[in-house]
């Protein structure tokens, strides 16, 4: 099968290249050496023929040579050997022998002579590499090669592609090549291509359809316009999904930031204005871990999860013991005192670490994105943060619903005096609750370090938003926080395109103020006499 394909493609190349290549291999020696020799000529036309020859040579090293040639890394040393430059930064370049693949150490750029190419050759090389790749045993390579052919197909290639498409084992490759063919056909005003491209999201497909729409044949032009409309429709849908994704991503950050606040506020009636700074500490913990474990950002990040929780929780306990316990029953004073703490923490970071932002490295498994289709790809770091937010939420739910601590916390929330009378040590519950809420803030910081800059103002930027989430969702209700956080995130992202980021924020704030008119106790209020407090 693969053999057949290969020959089909060879014919194709032979067809569209200037002429058939002349094989001038010296007998006895490596045939590759002769092939490369033909490249080192002055005429670009001859070089083109040499390239064709290389493709047809069935030599395993062909792809590597072509790629090196394309990149300008295929060079000839002063001693006549062909070498591939591995890294052309600096004065001395590490090289390897193009024929044997043997490392030759470093060579001075003066000893080397590049085999030049021009634009026409560059195009030819790209197609040639794609063709070579299409028959590669590696599926990934076949796929990316098919991707590259979109919009690059010409008459000769088109003909050859037909059987290739039929024979392709891989679904993705078949679809992609089909698309590539359809784009070529649509550009030439062929009905089949236009029809096939209906709803296709690739930008080249739209270019092709646009061309077809302004073509001579009215029937085809109409069909192209219809196809374009369906493409637009599809694009809109995908943009919607993308907005939703960004909204949910922002929302999950808000949930992470707000949920710790919801716990301390809901249970203790304590407004902790330093909550944002606890997040900041979590983010800095991540940075610190990465400094301690250089070269292992992934491991450092994973370890930061418990570390960030602990650091923030300990600072939280210090705040509770040091300040908040003396302000029991005076929520407004607590608000002011914790605000003071937030100023101190911020300034502390500025003085001790730096007023400038620190970079936290995103580990490899979290970077990149998940490609859904040509118009939609989801960045992985956001996906991870979303998952993390849900995980934290579920864990908190479990703690509140299934553990002794959760039971005591709920008891204290509902009736402090009664809970004490029943032997619950309310002070201990306060400390643990505050530690829990603060620890979750630390976790939020760890997550945020993957999305934004880590700086002394990190917390400040989220504090008002997270309060809005708590107010919107209703105090003392974790579900409310989840729903409120996600919906505020989505609302924000939906508004942003037409209102701008700042105005979107303002609209959301006004919306919440108006919302409180209707439901002063948030989306999920506590009902009954307990709520009257």
């Amino acid at each position: 099968m693969r053999r057949f394909l290969f020959w089909a493609l060879l014919c194709l190349l032979a067809g569209f290249l200037p002429s058939a290549a002349a094989q001038t291999a010296a007998p006895g020696s490596d045939p590759g050496a002769a092939l490369l020799e033909t490249l080192d000529v002055d005429s670009y036309r001859d070089k083109g023929e040499a390239i064709t020859a290389i493709v047809q040579s069935d030599d395993e090293r062909a792809r590597e040579w072509l790629q090196a040639l394309l990149d300008g890394r295929l060079q000839r040393a002063d001693d006549g050997r062909f070498v591939v430059v591995l890294d052309n930064a600096g004065r001395n370049w590490p090289v390897e022998d193009a024929l044997t693949g043997e490392a030759l150490g470093e060579m001075s750029r003066r000893e080397l002579d590049r085999i030049g190419i021009n634009n026409a050759l560059r195009n030819q090389l790209r197609s040639a590499i794609a063709v070579v790749d299409l028959i590669s045993p590696d599926v990934e390579r076949r796929r990316s090669s098919a991707d590259r052919l979109l919009g690059e197909v010409d008459e000769a290639l088109a003909e050859t592609l037909v059987p290739v498409i039929e024979e392709a084992e891989d679904d993705y490759v078949r679809r992609r090549l089909g698309q590539a063919l359809a784009i070529y056909q649509a550009e030439n005003g062929e009905m089949a291509g236009v029809e096939a491209l209906s709803g296709s999201l690739h930008p080249r497909a739209r270019v092709a359809l646009n061309r077809a729409a302004s073509g001579d044949d009215p029937v085809v032009a109409d069909a192209a316009r219809a196809a374009l409309a369906s493409v637009e429709q599809n694009l809109k849908l995908n943009r919607g999904v993308e907005t939703l994704y960004f909204g949910l991503s922002l929302g999950s950050v808000l949930v992470l930031a707000a949920i710790g606040l919801a716990i301390t506020f809901g249970v203790m009636g304590v407004i902790n204005m330093a909550h944002g700074e606890l997040m900041m500490l979590g983010a800095y913990t991540t940075w610190m871990m990465q400094q301690l474990l250089p070269g292992q950002p992934g491991l450092a990040l994973v370890l930061s999860i418990p570390a960030g929780f602990l650091v923030a929780a300990l600072v939280g306990i210090a705040i509770e013991r040091g300040v908040i316990q003396f302000l029991k029953g005076r929520p407004l004073e607590t608000l002011l005192a914790t605000f003071g703490i937030s100023l101190i923490l911020q300034q502390l970071v500025r003085t001790v670490i730096s007023p400038l932002n620190r970079t936290v490295i995103t580990p490899e498994w979290m970077s990149g994105s998940l490609v859904i289709n040509d118009a939609l790809s989801l960045t992985l770091n956001r996906l991870y943060v979303m998952g993390f937010a849900l995980f934290v939420f579920a864990a908190l739910m479990l703690v509140m619903r299934r553990t002794r601590l959760g039971l005591e916390v709920r008891a204290v929330t509902q009736n402090r005096a009664m809970a004490r009378a029943m032997g619950i040590r309310a002070t201990r519950v306060d400390i643990l609750t505050f530690a829990l809420g603060s620890g979750v803030a630390g976790l939020a910081g760890v997550a945020l370090s993957q999305l934004t800059n880590v700086g002394p103002n990190l917390g400040q930027n989220y504090i008002i938003d997270s309060f809005m989430v708590v107010v919107f969702g209703g105090v003392g209700n974790l579900w409310g926080t989840l729903v409120a956080g996600l919906s505020l995130g989505v609302i924000n992202q939906v508004l942003e395109p037409w209102a701008g980021a700042v105005l979107a924020k303002i609209i959301v704030l006004v919306f919440i103020i108006l919302f409180i008119q209707k439901r002063p106790r948030g989306l999920f209020p506590q009902k009954g006499r307990a709520a009257e407090g």
Partner: protein
Amino acid sequence: MSLHSTSGRFWLARPFHERATQIFLGVLLAALVIVTVLHVALPRGHALHVNAYTVNLFGKYLSYALLAVAVDLVWGYLGILSLGHGAFFAIGGYAMGMYLMRQIGERGTYGHPVLPDFMVFLNWESLPWYWHGFDMAWFAFAMVLLAPGLLALVFGFLAFRSRVTGVYLSIITQALTFALMLAFFRNEMGFGGNNGLTDFREILGFNLRSSDTRLGLFIASGVALALGYILCRAIVTSKLGRVCVATRDAEARTRFIGYRVERFQLFVFVVSAMLAGVAGALYVPQVGIINPSEFSPLFSIEIVLWVALGGRATLYGAVIGAILVNYAKTVFTGVMPDAWLFALGGLFVLVTVLLPRGVAGLLPGFTRRADHQPKEASA
């Protein structure tokens, strides 16, 4: 007792019969006279000469003091902790700034007869509608009261009607000023964006850079503070003031004896916002600039610290607190700027934990009566 001996009088006359107010007004008057005399009568270079810079600085403190009195009126007596009073201050300041901008006339960098420089710079063709009228002093000065008053009216109406109180209200007011800050940062708003309004030349025909004008503004700030203080004192010594305290301590109960609590809250809130607006209007010509940073939540919460430090529900405590903190800020930022935020943060903690009555609580003759430790409803 003193309260009942004055309760039969006309409400605006009552403060003059109070010992504390008499002392306060006396001290304020003495301060105004002394500074003026030391500035005008003594030659430059004399050891006791108060230079124009210092007069200007004192004038700034006095406008801050008026702002603090406005915050104390709502926080101390009504139990509403507004973390957004900076917004009213800033709006009053912007109203004044718009007047001062229009007074520049053709003397701006671009020399446009009507448009302020920043609008010319943004290629605006004509004045936005809300800039009209600000070339007239009476209109601008009316706006200094009306614009913050209107914002407070709308916001307060919505908030109090739905019985948003306690920390919720604090958070919402903070969100309000935050939203306004974001809005004013936008160039499209027509208030000069990031840079705000500046390069003022004259007020009511007086050159803003002359030391006489600065002295005049200083005295005007002192007079405004005195008037604002008397008005607030008259409110808190009236029966309405007692309704406020009743609302602060037991809102539901106040409702059940027949007072429409939300209207009282709204009334006092609007009065307070207007006073804050006046303070802002006096502040702007003295510092020569108004920009969106006055809307920052940090500034609003700092005002609350002044009041807390001075001692809430006393009014004169607010004045003391505003002057003390701002003097400390001037000194600190001059000597070691980095330490200021530590000092400020520490103050927040120390005052709330160790000095709940503020400095006023340390003064001799501080009566517990009307200023009995306020009890707050938990949210």
